[in-house]
Amino acid sequence: MSDLAPLTVGIPLIVAAVLVGGAWFVPRRVVDVASLLAASTVAVLCALVLAKASEGQIVYWFGGWQPRHGTAIGVAFAIDQLGGGLALFCALLFVAAFVFSWRYFVTVGPLFHALMLVFLAGMLGFVYTGDLFNLFVFFELMSVAAYALVAYDIEEEGPLQGALNFAVTNTIGAFSILTGIALLYGRTGALNMAQVGSALAGGKPDGLVIVAFTLIVVGFLVKAAVVPFHFWLAGAYSVAPTPVCLLLSAAMSELGLYGLARVYWTAFSGVLDPGDAGLQAVLVGVGALTALVGAAMCFGQRHLKRMLAFATVAHAGLFLIGLGLFDAAGLAGTALYVVADGCVKAAMFVSVGVVQHLRESVDELRLRGRGRDLRLTGPLFAACALAVAALPPFGPFFGKSLVEKAAEDAGLWWAPVVFLLTAALTGGALVRAAGRVFAGLGSAKDPIASDVPGPREVDPELEYRHDRVPRTMTVPAIALALAGLGLGLVPGLIGNLERAAAQFVDRPAYAASVLHARPARPPVKAPSSSPSLLGVLVGLASAAGALALAAAALFRSGLRSRALAASEGLAGALLARLRAIHSGLVPDYVTWLIVGTALLGGLFALTLSG
C-alpha cells in the first residue's frame, strides 16, 4: 500500500516523457485524454495515500535503503495527514485545470500537457519528501516547470517579462535554500530532515543555525510571494495561461509556506524554540505587512488577473500570520484557510478565463456590463468574491476565524484588525469587479484603478469563437466554487485538521517514525473548536466592509461627499507610492530580495541569538 506514494510522482513523469517522446505521432485528443487520466489516477492514488497516512505516518525509503542505526543513507518520503491532504488538494486542482484546458488551447501540441504533468509531479514530491536536498530538487522541478508554463503563451502581450522576473528571482530563492541546506549539512552531516532536527535539537542557536534558517526562509518566502519578495508574482500571474494561473495561485504560493512550516517543524523546532516571542514577532509582522500591501494593491487593479494575483499576495500574508504563530491551532486554521481559499480563487480564475474566452478581455473597466448575459459565471464570481471577504458560512470564513482565534490566544489582539482590513479590501475589489462586469454598475472610469489596461488580446490559441461557454469550462468552475464555499461545513473536518496539525508539529514523534520505524499516529483526541461569536462578527463586518468599499468605488459620482473625496485622494497617494516600487524591472526586484534577506537575517540575529 505504501508503494503507492512513489507512483504518484512516477506516473505523471512517465506519461510526460511518453507524450514528448511520441510528440509527433499522437493526436491532440489522445494527449488530452492521457493527461486527464494521469491526473485523475494520481488524484485517486493521493486519496488512498491520505487514507493510509491517517492511520499513521507513511515512511518510504527509495531503493529500500533503510536507515542504519538511526542514520539515514537514502532518500525517504515521509507523509503525514496534513501533507497527504495537501497533495490530494493539488492533484484535484490539476484535474480541474486539465478539464478546463480541454478547449482552451487548440493549436498547441503535447508540450503544454507534458509540462503540466511535470509540474504536478514536482508539487507532490515537494509535499511528500522527508529529505532536505530532495526537497530542493523538487522545488526546482516545480519552479522550472512553472517558468516554462508562465511563458507558454508567447503570443500574448506581456508574458516574457513576467516570466523572466519570475525565473530570476525564484532562481535566487532556490540558491538561497540550497546554501542553507549546505550549511546544515556542514553542521550535522545529514540531509534527512528528521536527522538534521535530531542533530540540532538542544543546541544553542548560533550564527550558522540562524543564517541557515534565514536563507531557507527567504527561499520559501520568495516562492510564497511575501513582501518584499513578492514583486515577481503579479507580473507572472497576469500573463500566465488561465489553467496555469489557477495552479500558481491556489497551490504554488501555498506550497512555499508549506515548505517553510515543514522544514521549521522537522529540522529547526528543536533549536529555535517555537514559543520564542522574537521568532513569532518577525514572521507575523512580515505576514501582516504582506497582507496589507497585497490588499491595497489588489484594490487598485483593473486587470482582473492582476487583481487576483495581488489577492493571492494578501492571503499569503494572512497564511504566514497563521504559520508564524508556531502552534498547532494556527496551523490547523491555516490549512483549512489555504484549501478553502485556494478552491475559491481557482474558481475565480476559471471564471475570468471564461470571460476572457468569450469577451477577449480581462480589463474590468473595458468589460463593464459586458458580462451581463453570463447567468452562471456572474453569480458564481460574486459569491466567490463574498467568500474572499470571509462572509460566513463560506469556507474561507472558517479558516480565517480559526486563525484569528489562535492569534488572539497567542496574545495578538491586533490580528483580527489586519484580517478584517485585508478581507474587506480584497473582497471589496472583487465585488466591485463583479458589479461592474456582470451587472454593469458604476462608471467606466475609476481614478484609483491602475493605468495598465488588460491586454487587448485576441487569443490566437482559440481558432474558433464561442458564443456559448463550453461545458468543460463551467464544470470545473462550479465544482471548485462549491468545494471552496462548502468546505467549512464538512462535519468533523476541523477536528481532523487539528489532530493532523498536532501531529505535524510533533518533531520527536516524526523523527522516531522516520529514523527508527516507530509509527507516529495522530493523537486520538484534540480539543475541537468552532468559530466564536466574535469570529462570526468579524466575518460579517469584513463582508459588509467589502460591500461598502465596492459601493463607494462604483457609485462615487453619486455620492459627492467630501470625506469620500479626501479618502480617495489619500488612497491614491498611497497607491502611487506602492506602485512606484512595483517597477517591473528585474534588477530592482533582485535588489529588494537582497534587502529583504539582509533585514530578515538581521532581525533573526537580534531576536534569536540572545
Binding site: G10, G21, F62, G63, G64, L111, F133, L141, V595, A598
Partner: protein, 259 residues
C-alpha cells in the same frame, strides 16, 4: 528605482548579506576537517554493497537515485520550456522551413575548422560513449558523457552545416531520445518496485567490482540518463542554433519583399 539609488541600496544591503553569509560560514567545521557521518558510512559500505568503485556515482544512481531522477526531469522540463519558448517564431515568421529556402546563405567556415571538426566528431562520440559506460568505475557517467555526445553533434555543424546536422540527428529523433531516456529511467525505478519491492530497488546481480557489467542497475541508469541528457542538450543547442538561422533566412525573405 533609478540605477543610482539601486546601487546605493545594494551597497548597504549587500554589506549586510556579506556579513550574514560570513557569520553563517564561520559556524562550519574548518576547511579540510569535515567529519560528517553520512559520507563516511557510504565510503565504507558502498563498494561492497554496490560493486561500484566510484562512490559518487553510487550515491547519484543508487543511494540517492531519486534525486537524480528528478534532476533529469528538471532538464526535461527545461528542454520542453526552451522548445515551447522558441517555437512560435517558426510558424509566425517564415512560412516554409528555412533550410529549404533556395540559395540560403551558408555561414562561411574555414577549411581548417571543417577538417578539425570532422576529425574530432568520431573521437568525441567515442569518448562520450566511454564516459557513459564506465560511470560506475571511474569519474564520469551519464550526464557528463551525454553532454559530450551532444557537443559532438555541434561539431558536425561546425564541420559541415546545419542541413547535414539535421540529417545526422533529425529533431524528432533527438526529442524521442530525450523522452525515451527519461522514461527509461522511471521504468528502471518502477522495475525495481515490481521486482524488488521498492522504487529503485536493485534487481540485477552486482557483479565483480571494477568490471564493466557490474554494479547492478547503475550502468543501465547511467545509459538512460546519458540518452536523455545527450538528447536534451542536443535539442536545446539545436534549437538555439536554429534561431540564429531563422532570422537570417527571414532577413532574406524580407529583403526580397521590400522595394
Amino acid at each position: 528605482m533609478s540605477p543610482r539609488t539601486r546601487l546605493r541600496v545594494f551597497v548597504v544591503a549587500g554589506a549586510g548579506l556579506l556579513g550574514l553569509l560570513l557569520w553563517g560560514f564561520a559556524g562550519l567545521p574548518d576547511f579540510g576537517h569535515y567529519a560528517g557521518p553520512y559520507g563516511d558510512i557510504l565510503n565504507r559500505v558502498a563498494v561492497h554493497e554496490r560493486s561500484s568503485t566510484d562512490i559518487v556515482t553510487a550515491v547519484n544512481f543508487d543511494y540517492r537515485a531519486f534525486d537524480t531522477l528528478i534532476e533529469e526531469f528538471i532538464l526535461f522540463a527545461a528542454v520542453i520550456g526552451v522548445a515551447s519558448l522558441l517555437r512560435a517564431l517558426r510558424g509566425e515568421h517564415s512560412a516554409r522551413p528555412d533550410d529549404d529556402v533556395p540559395g540560403r546563405h551558408v555561414p562561411e567556415t574555414s577549411l581548417a575548422v571543417r577538417l578539425a571538426g570532422l576529425v574530432l566528431v568520431g573521437p568525441t562520440v567515442l569518448i562520450g560513449l566511454y564516459v557513459v559506460a564506465h560511470g560506475h568505475q571511474t569519474p564520469g557517467g551519464g550526464f557528463q558523457g551525454g553532454v559530450i555526445l551532444a557537443s559532438g553533434l555541434l561539431l558536425t555543424y561546425l564541420s559541415a552545416d546545419y542541413l547535414t546536422m539535421r540529417r545526422v540527428g533529425p529533431t524528432w529523433l533527438v526529442e524521442t531520445a530525450e523522452g525515451l531516456g527519461a522514461a527509461g529511467f522511471v521504468l528502471i525505478a518502477v522495475g525495481g518496485l515490481v521486482g524488488g519491492g521498492a522504487f529503485f530497488q536493485n534487481v540485477l546481480g552486482k557483479g565483480t567490482p571494477g568490471t564493466l557489467p557490474s554494479a547492478g542497475l547503475i550502468p543501465l541508469s547511467n545509459l538512460s540518463v546519458g540518452l536523455a541528457v545527450s538528447g536534451g542538450f542536443a535539442y536545446m543547442l539545436a534549437e538555439f542554433l536554429q534561431q540564429t538561422l531563422v532570422r537570417r533566412g527571414q532577413a532574406r525573405g524580407r529583403r526580397r519583399k521590400g522595394p
